[in-house]
């Protein structure tokens, strides 16, 4: 906040009731998943760029990623992408149509569906 400190900065005593509302959490999940994807993208692009030096370079990298730990991380990335995608659809709906009832349920189902997609991916690759 600008200038003088406010009660919020002066009296930090754990989470406030209003920060626990479901749509606040949905917005936070959307923001953090977006940050995660943004942090991952440069590495994703660099990895694909390896094929500039020939398919063998890309294959070498792909073999390196063929371990359970990396597969788990990839499952996490699939979750981030799915949850950001579904949460983003929710935001487009909220903003462009007068549909604000049941938003908490919608946000929860977006998270749930993303988890299912990520789990299905993990089952497939592990």
């Amino acid at each position: 906040m600008s200038g003088s400190p406010t009660i919020a900065s002066a009296a930090r005593r754990g989470p406030r009731a209003y920060r626990r509302n479901a749509l606040w959490v949905a917005a936070m999940v959307h923001r953090l998943s977006g940050l995660g994807l943004a942090a991952f993208l440069p590495f994703h692009f660099l990895a694909l760029g390896l094929s500039l030096q020939g398919a063998a370079h890309l294959d070498g990298f792909l073999r390196w990623t063929d371990t359970p730990v990396v597969k788990l991380a990839e499952g996490g990335l699939v979750f981030l992408l799915a949850v950001h995608f579904l949460g983003g659809l929710r935001i487009l709906l909220v903003e462009n149509f007068d549909w604000r009832a049941n938003q908490a349920r919608l946000a929860l189902s977006a998270g749930g569906a993303a988890a299912v997609i990520a789990f299905a991916f993990l089952v497939r690759v592990l």
Binding site: M1, G3, P5, I7, A8, A17, E95, R100
Partner: protein, 244 residues
Amino acid sequence: MAQPAAGELSVSIWRGGAEGGFEAYRVPARASQTVLDVVTHVQRHIDPSLSYRFACRVGMCGSCAMTVNGRPRWTCRTHVSKVAEGGRLEIAPLANMPVIKDLAADMRPFFEKWQAAGGAFEPTLTRADPVEPVRPSEPARKVADAGIECINCGVCYAGCDTVRWNDDYLGPAALNRAWTLMNDRRDGAQGPRLAAVAAGGGCHACHSHQSCQEFCPQSLDPTGSIASLKRLATRAYLRGEIKA
């Protein structure tokens, strides 16, 4: 703090300015007691130097809002029985505003943003013209009427994390007001207002947390008004009617 005795409330009240702290008071519990009654009791019977704001006591003036047990509320219409947790109350000034003293928050930023969002009605007629009737059945008037009962208590502004994070954000009340005026056919400042709410810190900064809607004591839907403003301003921008 020890468990309050029967018939007694254990009340923590913010004292001092931004660098102040909570002080504990014991206040007799009464039937149908409001949080404002509790604050008034402390000032009248325990410490007359306690500063707070109120006027109407019946939920019309919007001056008595405070943070009660971590949540912004209008204190004159909030029963202690509804919000006290085990006979305990923690009462602080509204968040997201500078503290003047004790329970009095400085509402200047709130009202300055209200003005910045084009919250003032701009008449198109003079006193020489006949009075333009308000037609309650018109669709635009119905939309305006849905948001018009705002009492400017600042509860939505205090409960909004976008306000907390973004100094420039105009906030739910100001944008809700702008939306009602955009639907008032008697108003003559539609263009400048739409440009004001489409700028940085305007309606498009809202993250649709819907906390304002949850906390509004008048049960208004500022998030809905803001979403409508987003659409209106986006259309105007795409048509080249406003610049950004």
